[in-house]
Symmetry: C2
Subunit: 395 residues, 2 copies
């Protein structure tokens, strides 16, 4: 299950990046035992696409699972083929000598259920009908996604993880894991995330969903094998992208500059750079993402509230046994600093050892995907410390 180190080094040098995990392969694992879901239904079979990096050590105490965000996938680091233009989505953080150091730790990343990157989702074939689920796929929650990945982790032979972590929605899964399986994790990295989505976040997600469902090609979700609702999905993605950048960043990146023209066109073509950027983001997204998955995953995010089923956030965190690293970015207005502080306060009220880092930079919510030395150093130090503690406790 781990990447062969020799091959890795060879491939890495071939790619010219001495800090890359090199070539990786997405694997899949399917279980038949019905997965109970929060909605009351069950899902079976459940396939999960996942990738692993580094090697599980003999003590099995160096495994970390990272959860991806809304549009992410299992391909977190390295390359699938030498021809890939870009590495995995968190390659800056995962690799030999990187903060999630694959020379030390065994990293796992799996596509969420409901997704469209190899795990069971609305585009999968419903065994009862022999056709793609479409909207008959059950509405899954962050908790359901976590339950599915717990089975994967057990399948990989791991009882207790050194860490669970993620940014944005990935951070929500990490928080959920810590509450759901307090015995099965030593530390949590909750980055650019929140214990619940606020009204504004729900509102933006709903606009995206309405845009998809208003597209006549959506056909009530039954579009597989036909033209997909690309126009609607592109608009949803455009809305999302506005929320991922800070106003300051948009100003610095685009301002009011025109794209490929020197004067106003007085028409409805794309003319400002910011329009061109959004259009590009929307158009490229529809080539790699399934519109129904966008509906399901945003719905899971909307539903997420760590205090669900508890009297309060503080009480929800009562059984926590892990140490926490909570990170926010000052210019993130989708998951603002105040949301991170709410988590930190509730952890502190429970006496949970918590490191809180508020990073000041102008990159908005997307900052967690960008290179940041402060983030890197803090993650690296936090993990080393937790690992040391775990080993000490095992003696």
């Amino acid at each position: 299950m781990a990447i062969d180190n020799e091959i890795e080094v060879k491939e890495t040098s071939r790619l010219g990046g001495d800090q890359s995990v090199g070539l990786v392969e997405t694997q899949t694992w399917t279980f038949e035992a019905p997965l109970p879901l929060d909605c009351g239904r069950t899902l079976s079979p459940v396939t999960q696409a996942y990738e692993t990096y580094g090697a599980l050590n003999a003590a099995r105490d160096n495994a970390i699972i990272i959860f991806h965000a809304l549009s992410g996938d299992a391909h977190m680091a390295g390359y699938h083929t030498p021809e890939d233009r870009k590495p995995g989505w968190w390659d800056i953080m995962v690799g030999p000598g990187k903060p999630f150091d694959t020379d030390r730790y065994y990293l796992i990343c799996a596509n969420v259920i409901g997704g469209c990157k190899g795990s069971t989702g609305p585009a999968s074939v419903d065994p009862n009908t022999g056709k793609p689920y479409g909207l008959s796929f059950p509405v899954v929650t962050v908790g359901d996604m976590v339950r599915a990945q717990k089975r994967l982790v057990e399948h990989l032979g791991i009882e207790r993880l050194l860490a669970v972590g993620g940014g944005s929605m990935g951070g929500m899964l990490a928080l959920d894991w810590a509450v759901r399986y307090p015995d099965a994790v030593a530390s949590v990295l909750a980055i650019a995330t929140s214990a619940r989505l606020n009204a504004q976040g729900i509102a933006f997600n709903e606009v995206g969903r309405q845009a998809i469902m208003a597209d006549p090609d959506w056909r009530g979700g039954d579009y597989y094998g036909r033209t997909p609702p690309s126009a609607g999905l592109a608009i949803a993605r455009m809305v999302g992208h506005i929320t991922y950048l800070s106003d300051h960043q948009m100003r610095a990146k685009f301002g009011r500059r025109l794209q490929n023209r020197r004067a106003f066109g007085y028409d409805f073509e794309t003319e400002f750079q910011v329009e061109s950027y959004l259009k590009y983001q929307g158009d490229s997204f529809v080539r790699r993402f399934d519109a129904n998955s966008y509906l399901y995953i945003t719905k899971a995010i909307d539903y997420f509230d760590l205090a669900n089923g508890h009297h309060s956030l503080v009480m929800a965190l009562e059984r926590i046994q892990a140490e926490f690293l909570v990170v926010s970015f000052s210019s993130d207005w989708l998951f603002p600093t105040s949301a991170a502080k709410e988590i930190v306060k509730a952890l502190q009220a429970n006496g949970v050892p918590t490191t809180y880092l508020d990073i000041h930079n102008p990159y908005g919510h997307d900052a967690f995907l960008l290179p940041n030395e402060e983030l890197g150093r803090t993650v690296s130090g936090f993990l080393a410390n937790v690992h040391r503690q775990v080993r000490k406790d095992a003696l």
Copy 2:
């Protein structure tokens, strides 16, 4: 052209509001002389729907024009019929004894060209074809809207206005007037506005336009007499509404509360209150607004940059002769305080007498449409002072 005071009082008491301008009528005025536009084309004939409130005095020194925002119209105060559920859009500010005191001032408000509330716009009949313009209507700018309204003001027999004012896009028209016709205005009220739309604002507008243009019912703008692109327009309006409210206000107003249900439905129906609110806003908007006008007016807002054609904002304001009242709202993230301060600084650099008021409340951009004593008092005092000065200068 002014409202008969006797009728007004009678109607007002019938409506039970002793501070209402009572029943008003929208009037129209059409001119044939071609209006030159920034795009290089001309428009003719040009009809403008407008309303007036109060009476022009003998000195003709008490006239104020108010410019409406994106979705506004000429109906600023009072009622069209006794059955109207709601008065005009700024009834809280315009009326006898109100900040824009109709016992003292003569108020004018006209629908912008490009609009759909009685003024010439994309839904109007093109005299060259006998059919609605649709997308063959020229792309108009804030400057074009102002030029058209200048002709209306002249038609009403007014050479110099006591004040021009407005919130949001209305503030942009007010700023443009002050630069374009420095001799023709004594004061400017620029409320919740900006000297230019920033990248984030352009981005949100572009999402709205893309949603409209992606609606198959839009048919390249040629939908008059057929089903209009309601789904697209509703999505555009939903996006807009998110930007009009502050995050804080959304949290207070909706939080994560569910609408008419006690538990999650695990489906894609409207279930959070904030979704229900947005859906209502979208659905009611499509019954009163034309999608093509939404395209044209947002484009005019995007194009607006007071420094266009000048070397800088400071230089653009060189010829200003008016006094200024600039108002911002602390929780407005669409036209933030920083945008107001930029205007204030550029005015001060030109030695323009400027009052700046930053109102601290949680209501976001929409705050300028809500009752606010501080705003009311400041506007009232500012106008009284300007009027006193104008009368003194005339002696």
